[in-house]
Symmetry: C2
Subunit: 678 residues, 2 copies
């Protein structure tokens, strides 16, 4: 059966090779004028400087956790922890590197050849990130399965997931704080106080803002989905023994463990097909091309899953779970679009409420964010229901494996999903470069169009990331119960209720930390930009150059400093509850964090997206257009939404996954201690 | 043992007699000038017009539910449902009536005799509400216990709680929408657009604003705590059989059922002592007098609980549970103060962030609101832990009764708590009347001081209301498990997880409804105020009178219309989940709603309180004072905070209690059906 694992590794390698080919194709495109090269060089430099310093700090965290895991749990798990973390770093570096190649070339393609070529470069830059994430994730897991025996894999593979999670946490939180400190700072002084347009080269924070898109929305987002991707498979692998036992001899544990890897392999190949088929038509909406690619990739997975479900596991019911996951993912994306796109009534209502000032804008946006949680939660519920009860018909006790497969199904097309998602910040950067390099208005028009589609795809991507985090965390929660051998975690046990309360509180506390971090970091940026404007009047006049590097440095330092506390909190909280109150309370805590975290993340991400597009809707000329009172209120909404949608909201995904995987990894310890007072 | 129930009824009657005496004392105070009488008459008229129309609508809801309960569950339960609802109406009418007597007399006392007398009248007006709530609550429960045999009481008493809950829901939601629609409308056009001060008689919405304080912050708040008060006792009564069984013959079910009533009787008498000892000293901070009264009342309960715990139930451990509840209540109040009072750093930080505009004000306030959830949750957790494990030492299986007793302990001094809480809106109204009747500045100074203390006590009261709702809902959750005879509600059962997700989502959906309702209603008010200003320039010039009645009418109609959907949702959601997914899923739903609801309520109430006081802090002269840019940002924060702290946040309390009690009442139905698909 190891042969199947080798197939998964080979598919992963195919994905990586395609990524390299695409990367070379991008690199060989023309970069445009010297000015463009210079600006893009600044962005690259800033992005890599941040990533290097971020990884240096994380190296310390990783070393500490390596020792902790090694001593408390086992050295194989500890080594897999490092392996999972290192592959995350590689994916981040490689993907972001190509994204910084792509931005300037997209701008140049918009200038030289028009929309079609620009879309192609931007999308393929995203595709490299997508294939790097899924290729390296599957490659790593495949290698582990090939090299170790099944018992060791089952016991230690969670270390790999923990490595992915801990990198993701710091990546999302650090990147999120970076990008929003720069963005809020640049907007509040540049746009609001000085009245210069977005991405104006006179704004000292403009480079930091563009760097932020890369470290937050490309590298941070990639590490998030990398984690969900490997987490979903790991959970299925750890539940394989339970599934095999429940199958009554229909399949072995080994096959059950390999099935998710093979499905992921199918997903990568399907994503490649989808990616290569994305090509814009001059004059048509680029969103159509992206949607087409997504549907093709998903369609391929659906068809193959039906065949493989029967062939490998002897029942079509496992395909039901896979397909349920895929449908939930697509549905959440669509629902997100309805609540955050300017084409629908929610965003229009926020814009309308902006006429009575920023207070009503905020109230309306929060209302939309809260209301937007309803359908995704119902979708997730239906998905869980379908995946569980369909597979439970195969044999009692199979259902949890079915939920894990739903997560695998949802994430199988991660290559495509990340590609579409990362396309957004690349286009955004391209627009920034076009503005800063003072390219003609037509170029900016093309990049604006790409960017506006990118905003919607980014919002959809966030919804998808939250949905996948929910299913992955739930699947890992099932693994937790399997590892701790708990037969029930009853809400009638008050220690579980205490855990539930504490767990539900953690995402709020975590969001408070990250929001305050953005506030503090943005304030530093505001002071610095104001200082530069005061110190040299030539900057605003356009006669002297601002000190971009200093702003980049402020964002970098602030993000690195501010990511520590929330990051450690996510690791320490489950350890503390598990050790002090015991494994059942910890189960309650994980469920509480999952429930309140998913809600809060959906609310924040969607409110943020809706405010952003309400502002854009006003800018299109509604309710007085740019410069009107409604527009000012819209800008306030957008600014509040920035940390919502790009820092706190998405970081919660990682929080809930990371806390669950920490619990799974350290479960033997908690069981041994049994709760100091619980 | 019925004799003990008679004692409880007598104590309740004592409380009611004291309330009537205080009410007469207030009525006999002087009302001041004709202008003051006229204004106060407008407020009374508007408040009663609203309450009457509100109760008319609720009469339909009550009739439908009466039939539903009678047919599905039993007619005794249905009759007790009516009884619980009618007593809630009586408490609301009586308490609000006296509050509308108190406001004008407080203003007059401030004019004629100074701070001392004004404080006394305002506080005693609140005390009438407090004693009406606790007196009628205990009277009703006592009568039920006296008149029916124990088995019937145990089975049907939840109907009484449901009656209290359903009135509370519409009271809180309707009142909350009313008060904030008027407040936001009056502020946005009056203060922001026309630049006239708060409570200026030229503002057409000013009477509606003052009416809102009475229907929302007095009647609505009172119905909320009335519900918690009776809910906590009902839960202890329904758990009495379990407790007696667990006691191994230490006490009978009858004693266990009567103990909470006797503790409540002690609480009423203690509250009377506390209330009568509240007297301000000229020149001292009125907060001290209020705090002193609260501590005296709590101290009396502590001492007597120790004696009665041993005497009635044969162990001191039940006093531990009572005292744990009391301490948690006081602690949450104190924590709330720290996060929402201008004397502490959180509010100051929001004010500081206001210098960079309203976006940073909002971000900072949300951060404070989220962070403010941490300590209350930990307090509640410790309280649950202490109450459960202390009583569990008496006999295994006792712990849930212990948690119910903690809720009883927390709420035993409801008379005092509501008095302090309702004192706030009375003072606020007094200030409004002083302003509208153009009384001298010194008068306004006194009422301002009373009002500012009232803001803090109101915030503390909100924290207390949330904490008590959490404990009450949890205790009722234990009753739910007892009634359904579920031995576990395991988080490893996916149907429970689905329930948990749906439950966690409901408070968000509910808040979205209520926030949007406030937004819509406020918009109507804004349009009307603008229309009046446009139609008659004499209004702003002060030469012609605005049409107050029309604004009152708008608020009334809007609140009544908007309360229907969220109100029905709270009743239908548990019925739907219980019938479709079954009793276990419903258990998960209740836990999910409890966890996310408490968090969301704390966040919204505290963020709202903090914004309010940050604005006041700026108005005191910090960061540029009134009229500065920071102040404008502060006003935006305050306006966003209005529906947070006075509509959505407090309504969530009722949502979680009501859904739990609906589940308890209809539990036999759900068990019989067993879930259509679950």
């Amino acid at each position: 059966m190891k042969a199947l694992a080798v197939i998964a590794v080979l598919a992963a390698i195919v994905g990586l090779v395609v990524a390299v080919v695409l990367a070379m194709w991008i690199k060989n495109s023309d970069q445009g004028t010297d000015r463009m090269k210079e600006i893009s060089g600044f962005i690259r430099e800033g992005a890599f400087a941040f990533l290097k310093r971020e990884y240096k700090i994380m190296a310390i965290v990783i070393a500490v956790l390596f020792l902790l895991i090694g001593i408390c749990i086992g050295w194989v798990t500890a080594i897999l922890y490092i392996f999972g973390a290192v592959l995350s770093v590689l994916a981040g570096f490689f993907g972001m590197n190509v994204a910084t190649w792509g931005n300037v070339r997209t701008a140049n393609a918009a200038k030289e050849s028009g929309m079609n070529k620009a879309l192609k470069i931007a999308f393929r830059s995203g595709a490299v990130m997508g294939l790097a994430v899924s290729g390296l994730g599957l490659f790593g897991l495949g290698i582990v399965v090939v090299c170790l025996d099944l018992a060791t894999v089952t016991q230690c593979i969670t270390g790999f997931g923990f490595g992915a999670s801990s990198m993701a946490l710091f990546g999302r939180v650090g990147g999120g704080i970076y990008t929003k400190a720069a963005d809020v700072g640049a907007d509040l002084v540049g746009k609001v106080e000085a009245g210069i347009p977005e991405d104006d080269p006179r704004n000292p924070a403009v480079i930091a803002d563009n760097v932020g898109d890369n470290v937050g929305d490309v590298a941070g987002m990639g590490s998030d989905l990398y984690e969900s991707y490997v987490g979903s498979m790991i959970s299925a692998i750890t539940l394989a023994a339970v599934a095999a036992a429940a199958s009554g001899g229909l399949f072995t544990q080994e096959v059950a463990a390999l099935f998710p890897l093979i499905m992921a392999a199918v997903g990568i190949l399907s994503s490649i097909v989808g990616i290569l088929l994305v090509r814009g038509k001059e004059g048509s909406n680029p969103a159509n091309a992206l949607n087409m690619g997504t549907y093709i990739a998903a369609g391929c997975v659906v068809i193959v899953s039906i065949i493989l479900s029967k062939a490998m596991l002897g029942s079509f019911m496992f395909a039901v779970a896979i397909i349920a996951g895929l449908i939930v993912g697509v549905a959440i994306g669509k629902i997100t679009e309805i609540y955050t796109s300017g084409d629908y009534s929610s965003v229009k209502k926020i814009a309308e409420q902006s006429q009575t000032g920023s207070a009503t804008t905020i109230i309306a946006g929060l209302g939309v964010g809260m209301m937007s949680t309803v359908w995704p939660i119902l979708c997730i519920s239906v998905g869980i229901f379908a995946a569980y009860f369909a597979t439970e018909t195969v044999g009692p006790g199979m259902g949890m494996y079915g939920i894990a497969l739903a997560a695998v199904g949802m994430l199988s097309t991660t290559g495509m999903t990340v590609a579409v998602d990362a396309y957004g910040p690349v286009s955004d950067n391209a627009g920034g470069i076009a503005e800063m390099a003072e390219l003609p208005a037509e170029v900016r028009e093309i990049t604006d169009k790409l960017d506006s589609v990118g905003n919607t795809t980014a919002a959809i991507g966030k919804g998808f990331a939250i949905g996948s985090a929910a299913l992955t965390a739930l699947a890992l929660f099932a693994s937790y119960s399997a590892v701790t051998k708990l037969t029930m975690i009853s809400l009638l046990n008050p220690i579980v209720i205490i855990g539930l309360f504490i767990g539900a509180m953690l995402p709020f506390m975590f969001s408070a930390f990250t929001m305050n971090s953005v506030g503090r970091a943005a304030n530093q940026m505001i002071e610095e930009v104001r200082r530069q404007f005061r110190a040299d009047a030539g900057i605003l006049a356009g006669t002297s150059k601002p000190d971009y590097a200093h702003c980049v440095d402020i964002s970098t330092k602030a993000a690195l400093k501010e990511m520590i506390v929330p990051g450690l909190m996510a690791i320490i909280a489950p350890l503390a509850v598990g050790i002090i109150l015991g494994p059942e309370a910890l189960g309650g805590m994980l469920a509480g964090a999952l429930a309140s975290g998913v809600l809060l993340a959906l609310m924040m991400a969607n409110a943020g997206g809706a405010w952003d597009n309400a502002k854009k809707y006003i800018e299109e000329g509604h309710y007085g257009g740019k410069g009107s009172e409604a527009h000012k209120a819209g800008v306030v909404g957008d600014t509040v939404g920035d940390p919502f949608k790009d820092t706190s909201g998405p970081s919660i995904n990682i929080l809930i996954k990371l806390m669950t995987i920490v619990s799974v990894v350290f479960a033997p310890l908690f069981v041994a201690i049994g709760g100091l007072i619980g």
